[in-house]
Symmetry: C2
Subunit: 397 residues, 2 copies
C-alpha cells in the first residue's frame, strides 16, 4: 500500500471544503492524511472536522474566533491557530496537495504560500487568477506546482485538454447555465428581487456566486480565469448558454473535434478529478443518463440583458489592473444588491462606472508587479464602486 496523500484544505467549512472531506471519508482507510484545515470564523464546525479527520493543525482567519477554536479542540491533540498569519502557516505546511477554497481576495496570500511549497494546488478560489493570474501562474511555474482547477467549467476544460496537445487547441468553450433570469425580459430583470436571483436552477451555491451567476458576471470572471490558467488569448475562450449544465466545458482542436466533459451537476466530480489526479477515483455522484435527461439546449448569451460578459472581456483586454478592479467592484456591487440598496441591473452599471473612473485615473496597471499593487487596485476599485452605488441609490430615491 502506498503512503497516504498529505492534504490540506484552506476553506474547509465551505461547500467545496466539505465536499472534499466527503470524498476523503469515502476513500479507503489510510489513503489520505489531513495536515491542515482552515475556516474564516466558524470555529465550531472547523473543530468538528479537525477532530473527525485527525488534522495536525486547524486555523481560523478571524482572531476573535481563536479562543472558541482552542476550547473546542482542547484535548484533541489538534494544534490551533487564529488570524491571517495562522492561515498562511496552514497553507505553508508540508502537504503534497492543497485545496485553495478560501472565498475572495483573502485567499490570495494563502494560495501563494501553498504554491511556494511546490504542492499540487486544487484551485477553487477565482480571485487568484482573476486578480493576480500571472503572478500566480508564474510562481506555480517556478516551483513546479501543478494548478488543477476545481470550478466545474475549468475542470472540464482541464480534462478535455488531456485528450490532445496544447498546440493543437483552436479554442475552448465554457458553458453557462444562464441562471434564473435566462428567459426574463430586460424590464422584468430590472425589478428582480434578491430571492429571485438566489433561486439558481441547477447549482446550490453561496449568495455571492449565485448573484454572479444571475448576472453572468460569474462567466465573465471564468473567461478571465481560463485565459490565465490555460494561457489562451481572449478570442480563444467562447461561452455558450446551456441551461441543463450537463456539459461543463469543451476544447475544440484544429481538426474540428470538440472534446467535452459532461456529468451530473455535483461538485464532487471535479473535486475528485483534482484529488485523484493524475489517477481517478470513484465518487457517489449520480450517474449521468442522457436518455433520461432527454435534451440539451444551447444558445448564444444575450449581451444586452447580460452585459457582464462584455465587461469582463473588455477588462481582460485592458490588463490585470482592470480585471482586479472588475472583481473588486463587482463584490461591492453584489453586496449592495444583496442588501437591497441597488437593483440587479445596477450591479453591472456600477462596476462599469467604477472601471471607467479607474481607467480615467490611469491607476490600472497592464501587469501587476506584486500583491501590494493588487490590493491597492482592489481597495481603490471598492471605493469607486461604493461611490457609484451611492449615486445610483440617491437616484433611486
Amino acid at each position: 500500500m502506498s503512503a497516504p496523500r498529505r492534504i490540506s484544505i484552506l476553506g474547509a467549512t465551505g461547500s467545496v471544503g466539505l465536499a472534499t472531506l466527503d470524498l476523503v471519508s469515502r476513500a479507503p482507510e489510510g489513503a489520505y492524511r489531513i495536515i491542515a484545515l482552515t475556516a474564516n470564523r466558524n470555529a465550531a464546525d472547523l473543530a468538528k472536522l479537525a477532530r473527525r479527520h485527525g488534522a495536525q493543525f486547524a486555523a481560523v482567519a478571524d482572531p476573535a474566533a481563536g479562543a472558541a477554536l482552542e476550547e473546542a479542540l482542547s484535548g484533541s491533540g489538534v494544534r490551533c491557530g487564529a488570524g491571517p498569519e495562522a492561515i498562511i502557516e496552514a497553507a505553508a505546511m508540508d502537504a503534497g496537495w492543497v485545496m485553495a477554497a478560501i472565498v475572495g481576495a483573502a485567499g490570495l496570500r494563502p494560495a501563494m504560500a501553498a504554491i511556494e511549497t511546490g504542492a499540487v494546488i486544487a484551485l477553487a478560489n477565482k480571485e487568484c487568477l482573476v486578480c493576480a493570474g500571472d503572478l500566480f501562474m508564474q510562481a506555480a511555474g517556478r516551483r513546479g506546482a501543478a494548478v488543477l482547477p476545481v470550478d466545474s467549467e475549468h475542470n472540464a476544460v482541464f480534462q478535455a485538454l488531456n485528450a490532445g496537445q496544447k498546440g493543437h487547441v483552436r479554442r475552448i468553450v465554457l458553458t453557462a447555465s444562464g441562471g434564473p433570469f435566462l428567459n426574463w425580459p430586460l424590464e422584468r430583470m430590472r425589478l428582480a428581487r434578491v430571492e429571485d436571483a438566489l433561486a439558481h436552477p441547477v447549482w446550490s451555491m453561496g449568495d455571492k456566486i449565485s448573484i454572479d451567476s444571475a448576472t453572468m458576471m460569474n462567466k465573465g470572471l471564468e473567461v478571465i480565469e481560463a485565459c490565465r490558467l490555460f494561457d489562451l488569448s481572449p478570442a480563444q475562450v467562447d461561452v455558450v448558454v446551456h441551461p441543463q449544465s450537463i456539459i461543463h466545458g469543451m476544447v475544440e482542436y484544429q481538426d474540428g473535434s470538440l472534446i467535452a466533459q459532461m456529468g451530473s451537476p455535483d461538485m464532487r466530480i471535479p473535486i475528485a478529478a483534482a484529488l485523484a489526479w493524475p489517477e481517478r477515483m470513484p465518487t457517489p455522484a449520480a450517474r449521468l443518463d442522457l436518455a433520461a435527461v432527454g435534451r440539451l439546449d444551447f444558445m448564444a448569451p444575450d449581451p444586452e440583458r447580460f452585459p457582464a460578459l462584455d465587461l469582463a472581456r473588455a477588462a481582460l483586454e485592458a490588463g490585470e489592473g482592470a480585471t482586479a478592479a472588475l472583481n473588486a467592484a463587482n463584490e461591492v456591487a453584489v453586496e449592495a444588491f444583496l442588501n437591497e440598496r441597488i437593483g440587479l441591473l445596477d450591479i453591472c452599471a456600477a462596476v462599469a462606472d467604477a472601471l471607467e473612473t479607474a481607467e480615467a485615473e490611469e491607476t490600472l496597471p497592464k501587469r501587476f508587479s506584486g500583491f501590494d499593487q493588487v490590493f491597492d487596485v482592489d481597495a481603490r476599485a471598492r471605493r469607486l464602486a461604493m461611490a457609484a452605488i451611492a449615486r445610483r441609490e440617491s437616484q433611486r430615491g
Copy 2:
C-alpha cells in the same frame, strides 16, 4: 522538415479513401508520400488518383479490371496489379500508415497483411473486428501495430480514452442517429421501401451501411467492434439514440466524468484524427456552433422496432463464430432487401433465423483459430440466410 509520412490506402475510391486523399491534398507539400492505392474494380478512378498523388503501386481486386488499369496508367510510372493477391501485395508494402477501408470480408486478409508490417492501421473496415476481432487485435499486439478506428463513433471513444486511463473507465457510450425510421411506428416500418431506408437524415453513405443504419444493425456491429477494439465487456458498451449525431461517442470514468467527442458530421474529422495521430491536423470540416445547432436530443433505443441491437449483443455473448455469422447473414439479408425480395423487418428476422440454425448445428466456435474458420462460418451463414430469405419470400408471395 520531417520525412514524408508513407501511407497506403486500401479502398481508395470509396468515400473514406477519397476523404483521406482529400486531406492529403490539403496538407503541406511533402507531408505525405503515397505508397499504394487499391480499389475493387473502378480502374478509371483509381488510375486518376494514382497519377494525381504519384502512387508507387495501384491495384484492383477484380482481375477483369486489370487491363483497364494498366492502360489508364501507361506511361505514368505507377506500377499496376490486379486480383486479390495484388491487394495483399499493396497492403504489405513498406508504408508507415495504412488506411484499411475495403468494404466487407474481402478486407480481412489485406488488413492483416498491413498489420504484419507493423504499420499504424487506420481501420474503417468493420468486418476485421466483427468477424475476426481477436485474431486481428492479437496480431496487432504481437507486431506492435497501433489500430486507430476511423468510424466516427469509435474514433470518438478513442479520442475520449486519451483523457484518462483504461483502468478508470466505467463504460463507453456509442451514439446512434436512429436512422430514417426513428419515429416510424412498427406497422409503417413493415412497409418501408428501399428509398425510405436510403434517406439517412445525417450521414451520406453507401447503400449497405445506410440500410444497416435504418435497422440499427450498424450500431449492433459497432457494439461488437467496440468490445474487441477497446477490450471491454458487453455490459460496458451502451448505446444512446442521438438524432443530431453531434456527439459521436463518450467514455464514462469512475469519478462520474463523461468525456465526449463532438463535431460536425464530416468523416474528414475522424480520418484526420487517425492520419495525424498522435498529433492533430487542420481539416476543412464545418466548425461546430452549438448555439446554432440549438439542441441535442437523447433517447433509449427501442428494442421492439430495432431488434438488431439485441441480436448483436446476443451474438457477442455467444462468441466469435456467432458475430461472424451475424455479419454474413446480415449482408445477405440487406442485399435481399435492396433487391426488394424481402421487407425491412425481414432483415433482422432472416438474420435471427440463420443464427438460430447455425447455433443448433453447433458450427459457431466461441473463438476462431484462423481465417479459414472465419470464412467457413461466413459462407455457411450466407447459405443459411439465403434459405431463410427464400422462406420469407415464398410466404410473402
